[in-house]
């Protein structure tokens, strides 16, 4: 059968119906939720890798707290301990952050860019020197030199979350320069980041925090050009004025 025209594409279609479909298409996990889910999955994977079984532990009440009551906790087992999740939820080194702050982090991003080079002056129209969501980042000299510089290259997703947390914490305490340093470390360690989009958003925030608004806007525009429907799009536009 021929492909029907979708409701949202029908020129004479009902606007309310099309609007509802558009709302459905635009929904997705929050940046914070996305990170939390990915971190938990990474924790599950790591735990299983480490133990050879995911059933080693019974459902942990600690882990279960705040989670769905219908989750089969047996499978979480060791996963429950999901260190990355705990990290993300603010335990350990980081003081409790407000949900807004956590959301900011989630959106932050980093790493996308193996951008270890000094921040170049902003040049409107210049291609953003970063690896974007959905595109495999090209190996960079910085990444390639990671091992030589003593930086452990490419770890687990949990490691990515931890490193992004460091950048977030620096931003939170008003130290944008330190945040950029942490992001550069992230870029070195994770030349093919899973959280590249998040890392990019954090970098843009860090650039703004260091007074480099033009550079932040340029990077945001580059990101938006390649990811117009990213869940971070609205925030980046609001934050930088990028179109």
């Amino acid at each position: 059968m021929s492909e029907p025209t979708r409701l949202i594409d029908e020129a004479s279609g009902d606007k309310l119906e099309a609007s509802l479909v558009q709302v459905a298409r635009s929904e997705g996990p929050s940046p914070e939720g996305r990170l939390r889910i990915l971190a938990a999955i990474a924790g599950a994977s790591a735990a299983t890798d480490a133990t050879g079984t995911a059933h080693a532990a019974t459902g942990s009440k600690v882990a279960a707290k705040g989670m769905l009551s219908y989750v089969p906790w047996g499978v979480l087992g060791v996963v429950a301990v999901a260190v990355p999740t705990a990290l993300w939820l603010g335990r350990g080194e980081e003081p409790k952050a407000s949900s807004e702050q956590r959301a900011t982090v989630a959106q932050s991003p980093a790493a996308a860019t193996p951008e270890v080079s000094p921040l170049a002056p902003s040049e409107p129209g210049a291609p953003p020197p970063m690896a974007l969501e959905g595109l495999p980042p090209l190996p960079t000299p910085a990444a390639a030199s990671g091992a030589a510089s003593g930086v452990k290259v490419q770890g687990s997703l949990a490691d990515e979350v931890t490193q992004l947390q460091k950048a977030k914490l620096a931003l939170k305490t008003g130290n944008g320069a330190q945040a950029l340093t942490e992001l550069n470390t992230y870029a070195q360690r994770f030349p093919r980041p899973t959280l590249g989009a998040e890392a990019t958003v954090v970098r843009i925030e860090a650039l703004r925090a260091t007074g480099n608004a033009a550079r932040a806007k340029s990077m945001a525009e580059g990101f938006l050009a390649q990811n117009p429907n990213s869940p971070y799009a609205a925030r980046l536009r609001s934050l930088t004025g990028a179109r």
């Binding site: 029907p4 509802l20 999955i41 079984t53």
Partner: protein, 201 residues
């Protein structure tokens, strides 16, 4: 409920309790890739299958935990179909759980504030989602599956047929009925709003 994919899938993928099966070593790289590629898809499917936004993150996590256990049995070209079936099943479980959790159920089912009938006023995303939840909740599950995949996820008719393991003609038939159900629900909404406004006026 008519022959929904989720029901049939429950006898195939993911039926046995996880705790009763031996677990193959997880292919971490594959699991991470699958999660990264399909998280938004899974999350949206869960929402459209009736999981409240407040529970969708945890439900999505559960989908991928199931995937971690079973991915080694799933061909790469069937990953999305597997996730779709798992999401549909977990959403069904979630709805049952929610019904047991009365407070949450109340939150889900109580008559929400009526969204405005006008397109402009639907700029309020929250109210639009409330209406969307209502409309989708009224749709039979087998129709909703096709509607979600075609209208929201933009999957082709052929791919939907492959995903749901039903004939192309059946996909077309379900899509027509799903659209009718969708349009009737929107029409009902307009009638309610119009009546309400008339009563107030």
């Amino acid at each position: 409920m008519a022959d929904s994919f989720a029901e049939r899938a429950s006898s195939d993928w993911g039926r046995a309790p996880l705790t009763e099966r031996s677990l193959m070593p997880i292919d971490s790289a594959r699991l991470t890739r699958v999660a990264q590629e399909h998280l938004d898809f899974v999350w949206r499917c869960l929402r459209r299958f009736g999981v409240p936004a407040s529970d969708a993150d945890d439900a999505a996590q559960q989908v991928f935990l199931v995937a971690a256990d079973k991915l080694s049995d799933v061909p790469i070209d069937r990953e999305r179909a597997f996730l779709f079936a798992t999401a549909a099943r977990i959403a069904a479980n979630a709805r049952r759980s929610i019904r047991r959790r009365q407070s949450a159920y109340d939150n889900l089912s109580q008559a929400p504030e009526e969204p405005s009938a006008s397109q402009d006023e639907l700029s309020d995303q929250l109210r639009a989602r409330t209406l969307l939840d209502q409309v989708m909740a009224d749709m039979p599950e087998d129709l909703r599956e096709v509607f979600v995949l075609f209208e929201i996820e933009e999957v082709s008719i052929q791919d939907i047929a492959a995903t749901l393991e039903i004939p192309v003609g059946t996909v077309g038939s379900r899509l027509r009925r799903a659209r009718q159900a969708f349009q009737q629900a929107v029409t009902r909404h307009r009638a309610r709003v119009g009546f309400k406004q008339g009563a107030v006026g």
